[in-house]
Amino acid sequence: MTMKVSYYPGCSLKGTAREYGESVEAVFRHLGMELDELADWNCCGASSAHAVSDELAVGLGLRNLEIADRTGFDLVVPCAACFQRLKVAEKAVKSGKVKPQNGYRGAFRIRHLADFLGEDISPKLVKERVKKPLEGLKVVCYYGCLTSRPPEITDAARPEDPETMDNLMTLLGADVENWSYKTDCCGGNLILTRPKVAKKMVQKLFDKALEAGADAIVVACPMCFSNLDMKQAELTRETGREYHLPILYLSELLGLAFGDRDTGKWLRGHEVDPRPLLKEKGLL
């Protein structure tokens, strides 16, 4: 029997982060698991809802949990912000702050994609699917904020030093570099309202990733991705320091290692084109 999980893609994965959505779906196909997209899911409210009203933020999250409850499968969420908003709604139900509709059991777990792939399925299964090990590719893994913080909400075991993506990348054969900025904020939330502040925050990440010797940064959040991928040309112009560091979704590298034919199509959508680097390493 194929393993089934509920799936909450969130708004970005259907638009600006379509390569993330497409590669996540491909990875699950390779792993022989079925993604059951929540029927008629709504936006989680992201950072705007909780800035305006706690009730609104929890209400928007809760409607999605009620949909997931109908099947009761564990719920996989690839976006860090969506993940954390759904966890906030879950905790509000558990603490009795809000009442879901009658008959709600809430017996499923909400899992960020990186945690699901890195902790809930067997590493053997992932390893068996690898057709093209990512040998010679030096990466740092960037988890950002909301996959793990705050641990009271996310239930993260290692909120200051998560390692699920590092372990997955090691399984794929990549050369995973150590760095101290895995969970430092990239400022993605401020990219529209305070671009100067956000750019300073993201520049620090590039400097530290380069210092660690990385060829690329692996991410698991569409907000982090946009901020990291789209600001490099501007930073190069403004600072005089050359920034050209490919940003790759966790699922794109899994798809690449699994030999998925669509990999090139996903990578075409990036602002910093990762294809020359991957070709140079003989991976594409």
Partner: protein, 195 residues
């Protein structure tokens, strides 16, 4: 140590702080957080990745809050610069959910009262408006609305190149996806407005 010229008897004007515990209690009630538990260890400020852009750093804001200094707190740019990264909440040794206190302060701010709120207010209204209409965020509509209202036509024109590039890559949808349950989503908004 002579010659410094300091007269030990000189009086120094110390600003008079009048605590307002009623306002502090209101913030504590709304946020569900005990701000008086703060003992000024400064972990929040030292871990804050956006503190460099704040006029009042987080631990100082927490102290002003504990004293109930309503006008000082609400005039700070702190909670509009805050990126909601939750590092302060994660590290606070007294278990104060500081990031949530920042949310409460955003909610308590009156529209137009703090210039630091301008862009965030436009973004929140465009973002939530899109959810209310469609059930999901229509990214093109949201970003266009935000850019037009925050930077005017000139700002929008500056972004045209980026927008067209993303349209070409299929990363921006021209039309929103509409939920069957959009009425339920509207209902969530209505309940909150009434409450």
């Amino acid at each position: 140590m002579s010659g410094a010229g300091v007269k030990m008897t000189e009086t120094v004007a110390v600003p008079v702080v009048v605590p307002n515990s009623a306002w502090r209690r209101e913030v504590e009630k709304r946020s569900g957080q005990k701000v008086t538990a703060c003992y000024q260890c400064e972990k929040c400020t030292n871990g804050c990745p956006a503190a460099f852009a704040m006029d009042t750093v987080p631990h100082r804001l927490m102290r002003q809050l504990a004293l109930g200094l309503e006008s000082e707190v609400l005039a700070a740019n702190t909670f509009w610069v805050c990126a909601s990264c939750e590092t302060c909440t994660t590290r606070c040794p007294n278990g104060i959910d500081i990031a949530h206190v920042m949310d409460t302060l955003r909610q308590l701010s009156l529209p137009g009262a703090n210039p630091a709120a301008k862009n965030a207010a436009i973004l929140n209204s465009e973002f939530l408006g899109s959810i209310r209409r469609h059930g999901r965020v229509h990214e093109l509509e949201m970003v266009t609305g935000y850019t037009l209202k925050s930077e005017g036509i000139a700002g929008l024109l500056r972004q045209t190149g980026v927008g067209l590039g993303m349209l070409r890559k299929g990363k921006l949808k021209l039309l929103p996806s509409k939920l069957r349950g959009v009425k339920q989503v509207k209902g969530i908004f209505r309940r909150v407005v009434k409450g």
